[in-house]
Protein backbone atom coordinates (compact mmCIF):
# COMPACT_ATOMS: atom_id res chain seq x y z
CA UNK A 1 0.00 0.00 0.00
CA UNK A 2 1.46 3.38 -1.05
CA UNK A 3 2.14 5.80 1.78
CA UNK A 4 2.51 9.51 2.43
CA UNK A 5 4.69 10.08 5.48
CA UNK A 6 4.16 13.50 7.08
CA UNK A 7 7.10 13.33 9.54
CA UNK A 8 10.70 12.91 8.53
CA UNK A 9 13.90 14.70 9.42
CA UNK A 10 17.07 15.69 7.61
CA UNK A 11 20.34 16.79 9.13
CA UNK A 12 22.63 15.91 12.01
CA UNK A 13 21.13 14.44 15.18
CA UNK A 14 23.15 16.02 17.98
CA UNK A 15 22.60 13.24 20.54
CA UNK A 16 23.86 10.13 18.74
CA UNK A 17 24.93 9.16 15.22
CA UNK A 18 22.23 8.32 12.69
CA UNK A 19 22.98 5.54 10.25
CA UNK A 20 20.08 6.19 7.92
CA UNK A 21 20.07 9.96 7.56
CA UNK A 22 21.60 10.48 4.13
CA UNK A 23 19.33 11.26 1.17
CA UNK A 24 20.16 7.88 -0.38
CA UNK A 25 19.28 6.07 2.83
CA UNK A 26 16.03 7.98 3.23
CA UNK A 27 15.08 7.07 -0.33
CA UNK A 28 16.01 3.43 0.26
CA UNK A 29 13.81 3.29 3.35
CA UNK A 30 10.98 4.99 1.53
CA UNK A 31 11.19 2.39 -1.24
CA UNK A 32 11.33 -0.46 1.22
CA UNK A 33 8.14 0.66 2.97
CA UNK A 34 6.38 1.95 -0.14
CA UNK A 35 6.47 5.54 1.04
CA UNK A 36 6.01 7.64 -2.06
CA UNK A 37 6.19 11.02 -0.31
CA UNK A 38 8.01 12.14 2.82
CA UNK A 39 7.58 15.54 4.45
CA UNK A 40 10.99 16.56 5.76
CA UNK A 41 11.82 19.01 8.49
CA UNK A 42 15.30 20.29 9.16
CA UNK A 43 17.22 19.26 12.27
CA UNK A 44 19.61 22.16 11.70
CA UNK A 45 16.64 24.50 11.82
CA UNK A 46 15.63 23.13 15.21
CA UNK A 47 19.02 23.12 16.86
CA UNK A 48 20.90 25.87 15.04
CA UNK A 49 20.23 28.15 12.06
CA UNK A 50 16.64 27.87 10.85
CA UNK A 51 17.13 29.66 7.55
CA UNK A 52 20.16 27.61 6.56
CA UNK A 53 18.39 24.44 7.67
CA UNK A 54 15.33 25.22 5.56
CA UNK A 55 17.53 25.91 2.56
CA UNK A 56 19.25 22.52 2.93
CA UNK A 57 15.96 20.68 3.00
CA UNK A 58 14.46 22.70 0.17
CA UNK A 59 17.51 21.95 -1.98
CA UNK A 60 17.06 18.26 -1.26
CA UNK A 61 13.36 18.42 -2.15
CA UNK A 62 14.19 20.16 -5.42
CA UNK A 63 16.53 17.28 -6.27
CA UNK A 64 13.76 14.75 -5.66
CA UNK A 65 10.51 16.62 -6.24
CA UNK A 66 8.55 13.41 -6.68
CA UNK A 67 9.60 12.07 -3.27
CA UNK A 68 10.12 14.88 -0.78
CA UNK A 69 8.02 17.71 0.55
CA UNK A 70 9.17 20.24 3.12
CA UNK A 71 7.70 21.56 6.33
CA UNK A 72 9.85 24.62 6.98
CA UNK A 73 10.86 25.58 10.49
CA UNK A 74 10.80 29.18 11.59
CA UNK A 75 12.29 30.30 14.86
CA UNK A 76 10.41 33.52 15.65
CA UNK A 77 12.89 34.47 18.35
CA UNK A 78 16.06 34.55 16.25
CA UNK A 79 16.63 36.20 12.90
CA UNK A 80 14.65 38.81 11.01
CA UNK A 81 11.83 39.18 8.53
CA UNK A 82 9.99 36.11 9.68
CA UNK A 83 6.77 36.96 7.87
CA UNK A 84 8.59 37.76 4.64
CA UNK A 85 10.35 34.44 4.81
CA UNK A 86 7.08 32.70 5.62
CA UNK A 87 5.51 34.22 2.53
CA UNK A 88 8.47 33.14 0.40
CA UNK A 89 8.30 29.61 1.76
CA UNK A 90 4.55 29.37 1.31
CA UNK A 91 4.91 30.22 -2.39
CA UNK A 92 7.24 27.23 -2.86
CA UNK A 93 5.12 24.39 -4.21
CA UNK A 94 7.29 21.83 -2.42
CA UNK A 95 6.69 23.42 0.98
CA UNK A 96 3.53 22.05 2.59
CA UNK A 97 3.57 23.82 5.93
CA UNK A 98 5.30 25.37 8.89
CA UNK A 99 6.88 23.54 11.82
CA UNK A 100 7.15 25.22 15.21
CA UNK A 101 9.36 24.12 18.12
CA UNK A 102 8.59 26.38 21.08
CA UNK A 103 10.64 24.30 23.55
CA UNK A 104 13.77 24.35 21.43
CA UNK A 105 13.37 28.02 20.50
CA UNK A 106 12.42 29.23 23.96
CA UNK A 107 8.96 30.72 23.59
CA UNK A 108 5.43 29.71 24.50
CA UNK A 109 2.64 29.17 22.02
CA UNK A 110 -0.16 30.43 24.20
CA UNK A 111 1.23 33.33 26.17
CA UNK A 112 0.27 36.93 25.51
CA UNK A 113 2.90 38.65 23.42
CA UNK A 114 4.70 35.42 22.50
CA UNK A 115 7.08 35.62 19.62
CA UNK A 116 5.14 33.14 17.53
CA UNK A 117 1.86 35.11 17.43
CA UNK A 118 2.48 36.94 14.14
CA UNK A 119 3.45 33.68 12.45
CA UNK A 120 0.39 31.91 13.80
CA UNK A 121 -1.83 34.76 12.67
CA UNK A 122 -0.25 34.57 9.24
CA UNK A 123 -0.78 30.80 9.05
CA UNK A 124 -4.39 31.20 10.14
CA UNK A 125 -5.09 33.90 7.55
CA UNK A 126 -3.48 31.97 4.71
CA UNK A 127 -4.71 28.49 5.77
CA UNK A 128 -1.10 27.34 5.89
CA UNK A 129 -0.82 24.05 7.82
CA UNK A 130 1.16 24.27 11.05
CA UNK A 131 2.96 21.20 12.38
CA UNK A 132 3.23 21.14 16.18
CA UNK A 133 5.24 18.13 17.38
CA UNK A 134 4.90 17.68 21.14
CA UNK A 135 8.16 15.74 21.05
CA UNK A 136 10.76 15.13 18.36
CA UNK A 137 10.58 11.38 18.76
CA UNK A 138 9.27 8.83 21.24
CA UNK A 139 12.42 8.80 23.33
CA UNK A 140 11.80 9.28 27.04
CA UNK A 141 14.84 11.50 27.48
CA UNK A 142 13.52 14.33 25.32
CA UNK A 143 11.32 17.21 26.46
CA UNK A 144 7.57 17.32 25.79
CA UNK A 145 5.58 20.42 24.87
CA UNK A 146 2.57 20.69 27.21
CA UNK A 147 -0.73 20.24 25.40
CA UNK A 148 -2.05 23.23 27.33
CA UNK A 149 0.09 25.41 25.06
CA UNK A 150 -1.55 23.90 22.00
CA UNK A 151 -4.96 24.40 23.58
CA UNK A 152 -4.16 28.06 24.24
CA UNK A 153 -2.97 28.53 20.67
CA UNK A 154 -6.16 27.00 19.28
CA UNK A 155 -8.36 29.10 21.54
CA UNK A 156 -6.77 32.17 19.97
CA UNK A 157 -6.67 30.80 16.41
CA UNK A 158 -9.51 28.26 16.12
CA UNK A 159 -9.37 28.28 12.33
CA UNK A 160 -5.73 27.08 12.21
CA UNK A 161 -4.96 23.89 10.35
CA UNK A 162 -2.73 21.96 12.75
CA UNK A 163 -0.90 18.67 12.43
CA UNK A 164 -0.44 17.63 16.02
CA UNK A 165 2.51 15.25 16.28
CA UNK A 166 4.53 13.46 18.90
CA UNK A 167 1.51 12.42 20.95
CA UNK A 168 2.19 9.42 23.15
CA UNK A 169 -0.34 7.39 25.15
CA UNK A 170 -0.17 9.66 28.17
CA UNK A 171 -1.36 12.58 26.09
CA UNK A 172 -4.07 10.85 24.07
CA UNK A 173 -6.81 11.40 26.64
CA UNK A 174 -5.99 15.12 26.75
CA UNK A 175 -5.57 15.44 22.99
CA UNK A 176 -8.95 13.92 22.17
CA UNK A 177 -11.08 16.81 23.51
CA UNK A 178 -8.93 19.24 21.52
CA UNK A 179 -9.31 17.17 18.39
CA UNK A 180 -13.06 17.03 18.91
CA UNK A 181 -13.32 20.77 19.49
CA UNK A 182 -11.21 21.82 16.52
CA UNK A 183 -12.03 20.02 13.27
CA UNK A 184 -8.97 21.45 11.50
CA UNK A 185 -6.60 19.64 13.85
CA UNK A 186 -5.09 16.41 12.52
CA UNK A 187 -3.21 13.82 14.51
CA UNK A 188 0.10 12.45 13.28
CA UNK A 189 0.82 8.85 14.26
CA UNK A 190 4.57 8.46 14.80
CA UNK A 191 4.53 8.44 18.61
CA UNK A 192 1.10 6.90 19.30
CA UNK A 193 2.27 3.42 20.22
CA UNK A 194 -0.21 2.06 22.76
CA UNK A 195 -2.15 -0.93 21.46
CA UNK A 196 -5.63 0.17 20.37
CA UNK A 197 -4.92 3.90 20.79
CA UNK A 198 -5.18 4.80 17.11
CA UNK A 199 -8.45 2.91 16.86
CA UNK A 200 -9.81 4.80 19.88
CA UNK A 201 -8.77 8.13 18.42
CA UNK A 202 -10.33 7.26 15.07
CA UNK A 203 -13.55 6.29 16.83
CA UNK A 204 -13.55 9.66 18.57
CA UNK A 205 -12.78 12.00 15.68
CA UNK A 206 -12.99 9.99 12.47
CA UNK A 207 -10.27 8.17 10.63
CA UNK A 208 -9.92 10.95 8.09
CA UNK A 209 -8.01 13.08 10.60
CA UNK A 210 -5.19 10.61 11.19
CA UNK A 211 -1.97 11.18 9.25
CA UNK A 212 0.74 8.56 8.95
CA UNK A 213 4.15 9.61 10.21
CA UNK A 214 7.34 7.68 10.88
CA UNK A 215 9.81 10.15 12.33
CA UNK A 216 12.52 8.56 10.20
CA UNK A 217 15.47 8.45 10.38
CA UNK A 218 15.24 9.03 14.14
CA UNK A 219 12.67 6.26 14.42
CA UNK A 220 12.43 2.92 12.66
CA UNK A 221 9.75 3.27 9.96
CA UNK A 222 9.22 -0.50 9.96
CA UNK A 223 7.69 -0.31 13.44
CA UNK A 224 5.53 2.67 12.54
CA UNK A 225 4.19 0.86 9.48
CA UNK A 226 3.63 -2.39 11.40
CA UNK A 227 1.47 -0.85 14.10
CA UNK A 228 -0.95 0.54 11.51
CA UNK A 229 -0.79 -2.47 9.20
CA UNK A 230 -1.94 -4.69 12.09
CA UNK A 231 -4.35 -2.28 13.79
CA UNK A 232 -8.08 -2.98 13.75
CA UNK A 233 -8.89 -0.87 10.70
CA UNK A 234 -10.51 -1.84 7.43
CA UNK A 235 -8.30 -1.75 4.35
CA UNK A 236 -10.10 1.39 3.21
CA UNK A 237 -9.40 3.08 6.56
CA UNK A 238 -5.78 1.98 6.44
CA UNK A 239 -5.42 3.53 2.99
CA UNK A 240 -6.84 6.77 4.33
CA UNK A 241 -4.36 6.88 7.20
CA UNK A 242 -1.37 5.76 5.19
CA UNK A 243 -1.85 8.20 2.33
CA UNK A 244 -5.23 9.53 1.31
CA UNK A 245 -5.76 11.93 4.20
CA UNK A 246 -2.36 13.55 3.66
CA UNK A 247 -2.86 13.77 -0.09
CA UNK A 248 -6.16 15.52 0.46
CA UNK A 249 -4.77 17.88 3.11
CA UNK A 250 -1.81 18.86 0.99
CA UNK A 251 -3.89 18.90 -2.15
CA UNK A 252 -1.76 16.31 -3.89
CA UNK A 253 -2.77 14.58 -7.10
CA UNK A 254 -2.66 10.79 -6.90
Amino acid sequence: MRKFDVTGYFGTWPYWPLRHGSPDELLRLMDRYQIERLVLGSLRAIFSDWEEGNEEVRRLARRYPDRFRVAVTINPVLGHDHLERAEEYRQDELVVGLRLYPIYHDYELASEGNAGLPLLAYAAETAWPVFIPLRLMMNWGLPVLPLTQVAGMLARFPQLTVILGGVNYGEVKHALPLLRAYPRVFLETSCVQLQGALERIAAGIGVERLLFGTGMPLQNPGCEVAKIAHAAFSEAERAQIFAENARRLFDEKR
Binding site: H20, N139, Q195, P217, N220, P221, G222, A226
Partner: protein, 250 residues
Protein backbone atom coordinates in the same frame (compact mmCIF):
# COMPACT_ATOMS: atom_id res chain seq x y z
CA UNK B 1 10.14 -20.95 18.91
CA UNK B 2 9.31 -17.36 19.80
CA UNK B 3 9.16 -16.52 23.49
CA UNK B 4 7.87 -13.18 24.71
CA UNK B 5 9.91 -12.29 27.79
CA UNK B 6 7.80 -9.36 28.95
CA UNK B 7 4.03 -9.78 29.25
CA UNK B 8 1.47 -8.43 31.73
CA UNK B 9 -1.70 -10.08 32.90
CA UNK B 10 -4.33 -8.46 35.09
CA UNK B 11 -5.70 -4.95 35.53
CA UNK B 12 -3.42 -1.96 34.89
CA UNK B 13 -5.59 1.06 35.73
CA UNK B 14 -2.68 3.45 35.26
CA UNK B 15 -2.74 2.55 31.58
CA UNK B 16 -6.50 1.93 31.27
CA UNK B 17 -5.96 -1.66 30.14
CA UNK B 18 -6.36 -5.19 31.47
CA UNK B 19 -4.42 -8.17 30.23
CA UNK B 20 -6.75 -11.16 29.92
CA UNK B 21 -5.22 -14.54 29.24
CA UNK B 22 -7.66 -15.51 26.49
CA UNK B 23 -6.93 -12.29 24.61
CA UNK B 24 -3.23 -12.85 25.15
CA UNK B 25 -3.25 -16.36 23.72
CA UNK B 26 -5.27 -15.27 20.69
CA UNK B 27 -2.87 -12.39 20.05
CA UNK B 28 0.15 -14.64 20.50
CA UNK B 29 -1.28 -17.23 18.11
CA UNK B 30 -1.74 -14.56 15.44
CA UNK B 31 1.95 -13.67 15.72
CA UNK B 32 3.34 -17.18 16.09
CA UNK B 33 4.48 -16.64 19.68
CA UNK B 34 4.62 -19.93 21.52
CA UNK B 35 5.50 -19.06 25.10
CA UNK B 36 4.72 -16.02 27.19
CA UNK B 37 6.73 -15.05 30.25
CA UNK B 38 4.17 -13.17 32.36
CA UNK B 39 3.92 -10.96 35.39
CA UNK B 40 0.65 -10.34 37.20
CA UNK B 41 -0.47 -6.73 37.60
CA UNK B 42 -2.13 -7.21 41.00
CA UNK B 43 1.24 -8.41 42.26
CA UNK B 44 2.99 -5.46 40.68
CA UNK B 45 0.67 -2.68 41.79
CA UNK B 46 -1.19 -3.94 44.86
CA UNK B 47 -0.57 -7.24 46.66
CA UNK B 48 2.25 -9.48 45.49
CA UNK B 49 1.04 -12.59 47.27
CA UNK B 50 -2.47 -12.36 45.82
CA UNK B 51 -1.20 -11.53 42.33
CA UNK B 52 1.40 -14.29 42.23
CA UNK B 53 -1.19 -16.83 43.34
CA UNK B 54 -3.51 -15.66 40.60
CA UNK B 55 -0.74 -16.06 38.03
CA UNK B 56 -0.02 -19.56 39.28
CA UNK B 57 -3.63 -20.54 38.60
CA UNK B 58 -3.30 -19.27 35.05
CA UNK B 59 0.00 -21.12 34.62
CA UNK B 60 -1.74 -24.36 35.64
CA UNK B 61 -4.47 -23.78 33.06
CA UNK B 62 -1.91 -23.19 30.28
CA UNK B 63 1.25 -25.05 31.28
CA UNK B 64 2.61 -25.19 27.73
CA UNK B 65 2.16 -21.48 27.05
CA UNK B 66 2.51 -19.41 30.21
CA UNK B 67 5.76 -19.00 32.15
CA UNK B 68 5.65 -17.05 35.36
CA UNK B 69 7.59 -14.26 36.97
CA UNK B 70 7.20 -13.97 40.71
CA UNK B 71 6.58 -10.27 41.22
CA UNK B 72 7.81 -8.42 44.28
CA UNK B 73 6.36 -4.92 44.21
CA UNK B 74 8.18 -3.78 47.32
CA UNK B 75 11.04 -5.47 49.12
CA UNK B 76 10.20 -3.37 52.20
CA UNK B 77 8.06 -6.33 53.25
CA UNK B 78 11.39 -7.83 54.28
CA UNK B 79 11.31 -11.54 55.11
CA UNK B 80 7.83 -11.89 53.60
CA UNK B 81 9.20 -10.80 50.25
CA UNK B 82 12.06 -13.29 50.41
CA UNK B 83 9.66 -16.07 51.45
CA UNK B 84 7.42 -15.15 48.54
CA UNK B 85 10.28 -15.67 46.07
CA UNK B 86 10.96 -19.05 47.64
CA UNK B 87 7.29 -20.02 47.53
CA UNK B 88 6.90 -18.95 43.90
CA UNK B 89 10.00 -20.87 42.84
CA UNK B 90 9.36 -24.04 44.85
CA UNK B 91 5.57 -24.34 44.94
CA UNK B 92 4.52 -22.49 41.80
CA UNK B 93 7.40 -23.36 39.49
CA UNK B 94 7.95 -19.75 38.49
CA UNK B 95 11.17 -19.29 36.57
CA UNK B 96 11.55 -15.55 36.91
CA UNK B 97 11.42 -12.62 39.33
CA UNK B 98 10.02 -9.22 38.38
CA UNK B 99 11.16 -6.17 40.33
CA UNK B 100 10.35 -2.56 39.63
CA UNK B 101 11.70 0.90 40.37
CA UNK B 102 8.79 3.27 40.87
CA UNK B 103 9.47 6.95 40.33
CA UNK B 104 7.85 9.73 42.33
CA UNK B 105 4.93 10.83 40.11
CA UNK B 106 5.85 13.67 37.80
CA UNK B 107 9.55 13.15 38.38
CA UNK B 108 12.20 10.64 37.46
CA UNK B 109 13.38 10.26 41.05
CA UNK B 110 13.13 6.73 42.43
CA UNK B 111 10.57 6.16 45.16
CA UNK B 112 11.07 2.41 45.32
CA UNK B 113 14.28 1.28 43.70
CA UNK B 114 15.36 -2.20 42.68
CA UNK B 115 18.68 -1.13 44.16
CA UNK B 116 17.26 -0.51 47.65
CA UNK B 117 19.22 -2.42 50.28
CA UNK B 118 16.20 -4.45 51.32
CA UNK B 119 15.92 -5.74 47.74
CA UNK B 120 19.28 -7.48 47.99
CA UNK B 121 18.08 -10.62 49.85
CA UNK B 122 15.22 -10.91 47.35
CA UNK B 123 17.63 -10.82 44.42
CA UNK B 124 19.99 -13.19 46.19
CA UNK B 125 17.19 -15.70 46.77
CA UNK B 126 16.07 -15.51 43.14
CA UNK B 127 19.67 -16.06 42.01
CA UNK B 128 19.85 -19.15 44.21
CA UNK B 129 16.96 -20.62 42.24
CA UNK B 130 18.45 -19.58 38.88
CA UNK B 131 15.51 -17.29 38.21
CA UNK B 132 15.65 -14.76 35.40
CA UNK B 133 15.36 -11.40 37.16
CA UNK B 134 13.48 -8.83 35.08
CA UNK B 135 14.19 -5.40 36.53
CA UNK B 136 12.38 -2.23 35.46
CA UNK B 137 15.11 0.23 36.35
CA UNK B 138 17.78 2.56 35.07
CA UNK B 139 21.34 1.78 34.08
CA UNK B 140 22.88 2.87 37.37
CA UNK B 141 20.56 0.63 39.39
CA UNK B 142 21.11 -2.49 37.28
CA UNK B 143 24.87 -1.92 37.20
CA UNK B 144 25.03 -1.86 40.98
CA UNK B 145 22.92 -5.00 41.30
CA UNK B 146 25.10 -6.73 38.70
CA UNK B 147 28.23 -5.85 40.64
CA UNK B 148 26.75 -7.11 43.91
CA UNK B 149 25.29 -10.31 42.45
CA UNK B 150 27.47 -11.54 39.57
CA UNK B 151 25.76 -14.92 39.81
CA UNK B 152 22.31 -13.42 39.09
CA UNK B 153 20.75 -13.40 35.62
CA UNK B 154 19.62 -9.78 35.38
CA UNK B 155 17.45 -8.48 32.56
CA UNK B 156 17.10 -4.73 32.21
CA UNK B 157 13.47 -4.26 31.16
CA UNK B 158 13.00 -1.99 28.15
CA UNK B 159 16.80 -1.57 27.79
CA UNK B 160 16.65 2.00 29.04
CA UNK B 161 13.65 3.09 27.00
CA UNK B 162 11.58 4.32 29.93
CA UNK B 163 11.00 7.62 31.65
CA UNK B 164 12.75 6.28 34.73
CA UNK B 165 15.84 5.41 32.68
CA UNK B 166 15.62 8.71 30.75
CA UNK B 167 15.31 6.87 27.43
CA UNK B 168 19.03 6.23 27.60
CA UNK B 169 19.55 2.95 25.76
CA UNK B 170 23.16 3.88 25.04
CA UNK B 171 23.87 3.81 28.76
CA UNK B 172 21.98 0.52 29.10
CA UNK B 173 24.20 -1.04 26.45
CA UNK B 174 27.29 0.38 28.12
CA UNK B 175 26.52 -1.18 31.52
CA UNK B 176 25.63 -4.49 29.87
CA UNK B 177 29.01 -4.37 28.20
CA UNK B 178 30.65 -3.93 31.59
CA UNK B 179 28.65 -6.67 33.37
CA UNK B 180 28.21 -9.96 31.49
CA UNK B 181 25.26 -11.00 33.68
CA UNK B 182 23.10 -8.15 32.36
CA UNK B 183 20.68 -8.90 29.51
CA UNK B 184 18.44 -6.39 27.75
CA UNK B 185 14.73 -6.79 27.00
CA UNK B 186 13.56 -5.11 23.79
CA UNK B 187 10.04 -4.13 24.83
CA UNK B 188 9.27 -0.40 24.70
CA UNK B 189 7.11 2.29 23.19
CA UNK B 190 10.21 3.81 21.61
CA UNK B 191 11.19 2.97 18.06
CA UNK B 192 14.61 4.62 18.05
CA UNK B 193 16.32 3.52 14.87
CA UNK B 194 19.31 1.21 15.41
CA UNK B 195 18.71 0.72 19.13
CA UNK B 196 18.56 -3.07 18.80
CA UNK B 197 21.22 -3.26 16.08
CA UNK B 198 23.63 -1.18 18.14
CA UNK B 199 23.11 -3.44 21.13
CA UNK B 200 23.77 -6.52 19.02
CA UNK B 201 26.88 -4.98 17.47
CA UNK B 202 28.35 -4.20 20.89
CA UNK B 203 27.06 -7.06 23.05
CA UNK B 204 26.23 -9.81 20.60
CA UNK B 205 22.72 -11.13 19.93
CA UNK B 206 23.09 -13.54 22.87
CA UNK B 207 22.41 -10.72 25.31
CA UNK B 208 19.01 -9.54 24.09
CA UNK B 209 15.57 -10.94 24.86
CA UNK B 210 12.47 -10.19 22.84
CA UNK B 211 9.64 -8.64 24.85
CA UNK B 212 6.39 -6.95 23.91
CA UNK B 213 5.04 -5.40 27.13
CA UNK B 214 1.64 -6.73 25.98
CA UNK B 215 -1.15 -5.55 26.43
CA UNK B 216 0.37 -2.09 26.28
CA UNK B 217 1.82 -2.77 22.84
CA UNK B 218 0.85 -5.24 20.17
CA UNK B 219 3.01 -8.23 19.37
CA UNK B 220 3.26 -7.11 15.77
CA UNK B 221 4.65 -3.74 16.82
CA UNK B 222 7.14 -5.38 19.20
CA UNK B 223 8.22 -7.98 16.65
CA UNK B 224 8.90 -5.23 14.12
CA UNK B 225 11.65 -3.93 16.41
CA UNK B 226 13.50 -7.19 15.75
CA UNK B 227 12.38 -8.12 12.28
CA UNK B 228 12.57 -4.70 10.64
CA UNK B 229 16.31 -4.56 11.15
CA UNK B 230 19.43 -5.64 9.34
CA UNK B 231 20.03 -8.47 11.85
CA UNK B 232 20.69 -11.92 10.41
CA UNK B 233 18.06 -14.66 10.78
CA UNK B 234 20.34 -16.38 13.30
CA UNK B 235 20.64 -13.24 15.41
CA UNK B 236 16.90 -12.69 15.27
CA UNK B 237 16.26 -16.28 16.32
CA UNK B 238 18.43 -15.86 19.39
CA UNK B 239 16.66 -12.69 20.45
CA UNK B 240 13.19 -14.00 19.69
CA UNK B 241 13.53 -17.08 21.86
CA UNK B 242 16.85 -18.86 21.63
CA UNK B 243 18.44 -16.91 24.43
CA UNK B 244 15.61 -17.40 26.87
CA UNK B 245 15.46 -21.11 26.04
CA UNK B 246 19.15 -21.31 26.88
CA UNK B 247 18.80 -19.36 30.11
CA UNK B 248 15.83 -21.41 31.28
CA UNK B 249 17.04 -24.72 29.91
CA UNK B 250 13.82 -25.22 27.94
Amino acid sequence: MIIDAHVHLGPMPLFRVEGRVDDLLRAADRSGIEKLFCTEAIALYYDFREGNERLYRIMRQHPDRILGYCTISSARYGAKAVEEVERCAQDYGMRGLKIYSFSIPGTREPFLSVDDEWMYPVVEKAAEYGMVILAHCNAEEIAHLASLFPQAILVMAHMGNTAHARGDWHRAIAVAQRYPNIYLDTSTSSTDFDCVETAVAILGAERLLFGSDWPLFSHEFALARIRETALSPEEQALILGGNLRRLLGL
